[in-house]
């Protein structure tokens, strides 16, 4: 029941917003904040009790109620270590996006927050759903509010960007639907039961060729959202044109639903096909890492630059997911969280800058440090996080990914590591011409307000915490990631051993601890 509330609360708040707006538009900001905080408290209390409620695996909470019995679909939610990390990230970035649009959004405030909460509801549903129909339901639910956020409150070229975003992701969603339906019938013809239950669909017997085709439907959909290399073209446009909160949600959460889908569904549902496909997926990932980084370097639009860094960073996530080792998968989850926070914060900062100087063109900026030292300092922190400086969260994620992939694809690691060098170059390119150097135009640039600096300070504290002490996150995810790992189900069935207690996994975790605490640099 508690999990249904996590979904219902933001949805309810979204509707309340529309009603409240008749009296006071600004009240909707507080309603939205309140709803997200209440949700955060609910999740925290679930986490605090931290008991395992399921017979199999490790689940903090599960719920199940009948929905469409004729189809075999039910309202089945479940929260394990992976889901809870994603949900907390969603709520934190949700709160950040409400706060960062406090002064940016002044028109149609209620409708803005309606859409913001709508997209957050969809994302929460995606992270919690354990029924494939329910998952597809929430997957498509995210789309329309996000479209509105870009198309109504976006910048100059918003309509084009919103439409491109919508058509790309909807085409992916349709492929996902086809994949789900195909899996549904394959399962029914093999076992005689029509079901969309995630747990029952795991281990559906099918021929290699069919498995590969259905897996490709799922993979294409998630790869568009991620976005993986040839399918990424919607992302720079959508990011650039979206309002700040839209960019935060887009980069921090929406892209992560693609990664989550890959981890939760592609590996477990199609173990052998996914393992077979891993080589291609990893090549795509490495191309994405380099391509995104190089293109980021070439941008003159500050927001577009940050957008391309996402392509590069999400390439690392894809690499971690398909590496086939637990440490790489752990690193991928870590990278998801840290990229969400660091890129989210960068988008917030760029948004604040744009709100003040009304441009994103880097050629018009320069020497801004002297005008707004607090803002510049914050940008420095997150730019460094983005380029993977040790001590900040992204480093832990990227390092764990490279470490894990090295066992299986050493050549790719060498190439991917080049991405880190380019990352350093584009990271410095954010800083050097914009904030350092001589003043190009004497902008009237007020520094961060109390609201803005406290938001940024919180996010900076989070990224530092994840950088120096990521163990709590690893502990949470470690309990759930074992069975989700690509290639794991095959080895599990052979060895009949729990991956969590296997010496290899333990050694992996120990290594992370050592690396982070500096004993094993």
């Amino acid at each position: 029941m508690i999990l249904e509330w996590i979904i219902v609360i933001p949805l309810l708040a979204a509707v309340i917003n529309l009603l409240v707006s008749r009296w006071d538009e600004d009240a909707t900001r507080w309603v939205s904040l309140l709803a997200l905080f209440v949700n955060l408290i609910i999740v925290a209390s679930l986490l605090a009790t931290g008991e395992n409620v399921a017979a199999e695996g490790w689940w903090i909470a599960q719920s199940d109620r009948t929905w469409i019995p004729q189809l075999g679909a039910s309202i089945r939610f479940g929260m394990d270590g992976l889901s809870v990390v994603m949900v907390v990230l969603t709520l934190v970035l949700g709160i950040a996006s409400v706060i960062c649009s406090w002064t940016e959004i002044t028109e149609r405030v209620a409708f803005f927050h309606f859409n913001l909460l709508g997209v957050i509801t969809g994302i929460l549903g995606v992270f919690l759903a354990l029924d494939l129909f329910l998952f597809a339901f929430f997957w498509e639910l995210m789309l329309v509010p996000m479209y509105f956020l870009i198309a109504i409150w976006g910048h100059e070229n918003r309509r084009y960007a919103a439409l491109k975003f919508f058509i790309f992701t909807q085409a992916g969603g349709l492929l996902l639907l086809a994949g789900i339906v195909a899996l549904y019938f394959i399962h029914a013809s093999a076992t005689g039961t029509y079901t969309l239950n995630y747990f029952e669909l795991i281990g559906t017997p099918m021929s290699d060729r069919v498995a590969l085709l259905v897996m490709l439907c799922f993979f294409a959909c998630f790869a568009i959202k991620l976005p993986a290399f040839p399918l990424h073209t919607w992302l720079p446009d959508a990011h650039t044109e979206a309002p700040t909160a839209g960019s935060v949600i887009l980069a921090g959460l929406l892209l992560k639903t693609g990664a989550y889908g890959l981890i939760r569904f592609v590996g477990p549902l199609f173990p052998s096909a996914a393992a077979e496909f891993a080589g291609i997926a990893n090549t795509i990932a490495v191309v994405g890492i380099l391509y995104g980084a190089i293109l980021a370097f070439a941008q003159t639009d500050l927001k577009r630059l940050v957008a391309y860094t996402s392509v590069s960073h999400l390439g690392f996530v894809l690499l971690g997911i398909f590496a086939g080792t637990e440490i790489a998968l752990q690193g991928a989850v870590m990278q998801i969280v840290c990229h969400g926070i660091s890129t989210g914060a960068l988008f917030v900062l760029v948004g604040m800058l744009q709100e003040r100087v009304r441009t994103r063109d880097m050629r018009l900026m320069g020497g801004l440090w002297s005008l707004a030292p607090r803002m510049s300092g914050m940008v420095l922190v997150f730019a460094l996080a983005s380029l993977g400086l040790p001590g900040l969260g992204n480093f832990v994620g990227e390092f764990a990914i490279l470490l894990g992939v090295y066992k299986t694809y050493p050549t790719l690691v060498v190439i991917a590591a080049l991405g880190l060098i380019v990352a350093a170059i584009y990271g410095l390119r954010i800083m050097a011409p914009v904030f350092l150097g001589p003043l190009v135009i004497p902008w009237k640039l007020p520094d961060l307000s109390v609201r803005e600096s406290s938001l940024m300070a919180c996010m900076a504290a989070l990224i530092v915490w994840l950088g120096v002490y990521p163990q709590p996150v690893f502990n949470l995810t470690a309990r759930s990631l074992g069975p989700l790992q690509i290639g794991s189900s095959i080895s599990r069935s052979v060895e009949k051993a729990d991956t969590l207690t296997s010496p290899r996994a333990a050694a992996d975790r120990g290594m992370i601890t050592k690396v982070v605490s500096g004993r094993h640099p």
Binding site: P69, Q70, L71, E140, V144, A151, L174
Partner: protein, 475 residues
């Protein structure tokens, strides 16, 4: 005629008696409100009666009609849609000059025709129902008068007459082969695969294709949709097409469609063509009524995918999709009707621009309806689309399903374009729409939206109803 037969057709008899009654009331006293109320009450009464007699079904009525669960489901759907159209028509017509009582009479006749159509078990009753429906529609389409109205009515008249000719020729061939016009006897005596039967089926499909406006027989749709009053368009798009589709299903359930691969191929081609042509042509439209016309071509194409499919999901897919489509299309044209100004429908994209800020409720309803047509969750369109895909993949119709996926990705573009216009900054030159608010049409639209979201979020009850009634025939 036995008493149980009379009870079974009571809903139709009610419509028929009420027709005479409404005519007499109009002769006695011309009053718009009175006529509209009476019509709505009759439709509601007939609906209640249909539900009351449901447990006595199935019942054959002579050799002409059969009232079974399937017929009951579609009669209820037709009556509900007609009821909504009547309630939407009252404020729509009230804002215009002139006398409007006959409009309701024609609407009742058309509803009766559609009800006969879905309950027919004989080519005679089929043709009778179709012509009753068609003839009243000619008058309804031209009801607004003006060049557009007359053009639309003429176009519909000519094409409907041609399609009737095709149908009659097809029926004659079937009769020559089987020696009977009764569906059940035809299916006993002949198989669907013979050359004469194939020719007959081809002619029947051509005739029905015109009525359903599937490509390549769709040319009349945009002009008729544009020229007819918005409420009548809602009626044509829902009741008229739905009833013909229901009959098509019944006929080809008896004449085993899957025994004749040629027929399956023909229907598959029609489906693919409709989906692609409908969506591509809809892309080019700036008039919302014309856009919805082409989108309805595409949606009939989607429905044909389920029609070609086999398996347990097929009947539910068709029943659910039609129910969802009825709600959606009546709702969409209902908004256009509710916004119409003196004598003119609000239909161009420019007039709808910025509607969300001047008339938020209307814009919200129209958005919900368009999202349902695009198949976005929380609306019935999503579940409907899922069922169509499931029915298609369940019978290995991969080519058609891929067509459906591609077509609905294209379709998104124009639905979203209209939605975007609704939420854009209002056009200063055209100015915002200034229709007078009507609580009647407002509450109908809210009710339709509620129904749309309800069956979209919690479809189990409706699916159970479809399984208990309609799917017995289709199986």
């Amino acid at each position: 005629m036995s008493s149980s037969e009379i009870i079974a057709v009571l809903p139709l008899i009610i419509l028929f008696v009420a027709l005479v009654l409404v005519m007499l009331v109009i002769a006695w006293r011309r009053h718009h409100g009175l006529t509209a109320t009476l019509t709505a009450a009759v439709l509601a009464g007939s609906f209640a009666c249909m539900i009351a007699v449901e447990d006595r079904l199935p019942q054959k009525v002579g050799s002409l009609l059969i009232v079974d669960g399937y017929a009951a489901f579609f009669v209820c759907l037709v009556l509900a849609a007609a009821f909504a159209v009547v309630l939407l028509s009252y404020p729509y017509l009230q804002s215009r000059n002139g006398r409007h009582e006959e409009y309701y009479l024609l609407l009742l006749i058309a509803t009766l025709g559609a009800s006969i159509l879905v309950a027919s078990a004989h080519f005679a009753s089929f043709f009778l129902g179709l012509e009753i429906l068609g003839v009243s529609l000619y008058a309804l389409i031209g009801y607004r008068g003006g060049l557009n109205g007359v053009e639309a009515a003429m176009k519909y008249l000519v094409l409907a007459a041609i399609s009737s000719a095709f149908l009659l020729f097809g029926m004659a061939l079937v009769y020559a082969q089987a020696g009977s016009l009764e569906f059940a006897k035809i299916s006993e005596r002949v198989s669907g695969a013979g050359i004469t039967m194939l020719l007959a089926s081809g002619l029947l499909i051509t005739g029905i294709g015109f009525k359903l406006a599937v490509a390549p027989f769709h040319m009349w749709t945009p002009d008729v949709y544009e020229g007819a009053p918005a409420t009548v368009t809602a009626f044509i798009a829902s009741v008229s097409k739905g009833a013909v589709f229901a009959l098509l299903f019944r006929y080809f359930a008896l004449i085993d469609l899957h025994a004749a691969p040629t027929m399956l191929t023909a229907f598959s081609i029609l489906a693919a063509l409709s989906m692609i042509v409908g969506n591509l042509l809809a892309l080019l439209q700036t008039n919302v009524k014309r856009m919805l016309a082409y989108s309805s071509v595409a949606h009939l194409g989607y429905l044909l995918v389920a029609f070609v499919a086999s398996g347990p999901l097929r009947p539910v897919a068709v029943g659910y999709y039609l129910a969802a489509y009825f709600i959606t299309i009546v709702g969409a044209f209902g908004v256009i009707a509710a916004l119409s100004r003196q004598g003119r429908d609000v239909e161009t994209a420019a007039e709808l621009t910025g509607l969300a800020w001047s008339k938020p409720w209307h814009a919200a309803v129209l958005t919900a309806m368009l999202l349902s047509l695009a198949g976005i969750p929380l609306t019935a369109g999503f579940v409907g689309k899922f069922y169509l895909i499931a029915a298609g993949i369940g019978s290995d119709l991969w080519t058609l399903v891929l067509c459906l996926l591609a077509a609905s990705a294209i379709g998104l573009y124009y639905y979203i374009r209209v939605i975007l216009a609704l939420f854009a900054q209002p056009d200063q030159e055209v100015g915002p729409v200034s229709a007078e608010p009507s609580y009647l049409s407002g509450s109908v639209l809210i009710g339709l939206t509620f129904a749309l979201v309800f069956i979209g979020v919690y479809p189990a009850p409706l699916i159970a109803v479809i399984q208990a009634t309609a799917s017995r025939l289709m199986g």
